[in-house]
């Protein structure tokens, strides 16, 4: 049985841990609200952009000489996986899940004889993937120290990816990020970027009857890089919202666990204290009887 002093110290240390985790939970909750608002605000642009693209892409889809960003460059040999993670940890399995999915995907592609390159967005993903896949990481970017992610950040990433694609460093690009389903669940999600996701059968029903200025090809040339940036921006925002949600949940359960720990330690402490008193009483009584 540990001494009373040791137990007291341990209770105090768990209490201060609990204070920290509950403060982190509050902070994460506040930041989650902000991140969700930002994601919400970016939605109208993405929706209209997708509409326009669906209308234009339907006519261009079957054309092998169409825009490379839309139909691909005809090869399927080297794959780029863009792994989106957070820059910080203490968020349960949030970052680890992306790492796991990237490793699985890379292994599956390698088994098919494809080459795999990885671009890590976010510090944590880079830290974990760098350990065993260092030579496959072709680029990395993080937003450490940035309060909010701006569209310009996403655009920089998009330009970097397009540059590599045009230089022939890879043939397809897939984005892997945590989709924000709810505060409780964020699931890894794969989104093809190049070639762009084919418009679904539903969209084809909406026959393209727009007049187009200057013309389909030129407009797509402008629209597609923009669309790539929009998708990356959306993924970064979902990642941010998902991260805070995940951190909030993780800190909530940490706070609860600390509470249980304190209860258990307090019980031990009281038992030890009572045992001491009983022992002392027995000593006094038996001493008195002996006289």
């Amino acid at each position: 049985m540990p001494s009373l002093k040791i137990l007291r110290n341990r209770i105090n240390s768990v209490k201060s841990t609990q204070k920290i985790t509950s403060a982190m939970k509050m902070v994460a909750a506040a930041k989650l609200r902000r991140a969700q608002a930002q994601a919400e605000a970016s939605r109208p642009y993405a929706v209209r952009m997708a509409e326009m693209l669906a209308a234009l892409a339907a006519s261009e889809m079957g054309n092998p000489n169409g825009n490379k960003l839309l139909v691909g460059n005809g090869k399927n040999q080297t794959h780029l996986l863009v792994a989106v993670t957070a820059d910080r940890g203490l968020a349960g399995g949030f970052n680890a899940n992306i790492g796991k999915v990237v490793r699985q995907r890379a292994a599956a592609l390698a088994a098919e004889g494809k080459r795999v390159k990885i671009f890590t967005l976010g510090r944590k993903g880079n830290d974990s993937l760098r350990r065993d896949m260092r030579d496959q990481i072709s680029g990395t970017k993080n937003f450490v120290g940035k309060k909010i992610i701006t569209f310009a950040d996403a655009e920089d990433v998009a330009q970097e990816i397009i540059r590599g694609f045009k230089a022939g460093e890879y043939d397809t690009v897939t984005l892997l990020f945590n989709r924000f389903h709810s505060v409780m669940t964020q699931k890894p999600f794969e989104q093809p970027l190049i070639p762009a996701a084919a418009p679904t059968a539903n969209d084809n029903a909406m026959e393209h009857n727009y007049e187009v200025e200057p013309d389909d090809g030129t407009l797509l040339d402008r629209l597609l890089p923009r669309n790539l940036a929009v998708q990356i921006y959306a993924a970064l925002l979902e990642n941010a919202a998902g991260f805070y949600a995940s951190q909030m949940t993780a800190m909530d359960s940490a706070t609860r666990n600390a509470g249980q720990m304190i209860k258990k330690l307090t019980l031990d402490y009281n038992r030890a204290r009572q045992a001491n008193i009983t022992r002392e009483l027995i000593e006094i009584i038996s001493g008195a009887e002996a006289v």
Binding site: Y45, F151, L219, L223, R226, Y233
Partner: protein, 134 residues
């Protein structure tokens, strides 16, 4: 019948309201959009979006470029960046213009894509400077 105008930047919905007419700076020339306009998709150059209500210009917004989707009852402007005309900082606009001019001068003319991007930037910067006076 009013025209539902939406001005959207990637980061937020800036404006959504019913207006009488809007003039947008298309790459092929300015377009006046009234309700009942035929369906149209166009890219935009840098310039002013003028909003008309009751026969007067009630709002002027500078966009650096982007796209517009026009249907019979709606006009959506997807702008890269939006600044109210009154908020344009002349010093910043001049600095941007000088930068764009330098980039254009240093351009490799054989790279058609870089040419398009740089000339877009130059046009947009020039339009920003011009729209201060306008």
């Amino acid at each position: 019948m009013p025209l539902a105008l939406e001005i959207i930047s990637p980061e937020r919905l800036l404006l959504a309201r019913d207006v009488d007419m809007v003039v947008v700076p298309g790459t092929e020339g300015d377009l006046g959009v009234l309700p009942g306009h035929s369906k149209l998709v166009t890219s935009l150059r840098g310039g002013l979006v003028d909003i008309y209500e009751g026969g007067k210009i009630t709002d002027r917004l500078f966009v650096t470029g982007g796209f517009a989707e026009i249907t019979e009852s709606r006009c959506s402007v997807l702008a890269d960046e939006i600044i109210r005309q009154a908020d344009i900082d002349p010093a910043m606009a001049q600095a941007k213009l000088a930068e764009a001019k330098a980039a254009f001068a240093a351009l490799d003319l054989n790279n058609s894509e870089a040419y398009r991007e740089t000339s877009d930037r130059l046009i947009s910067a020039q339009a920003m400077v011009d729209s201060i006076a306008a």
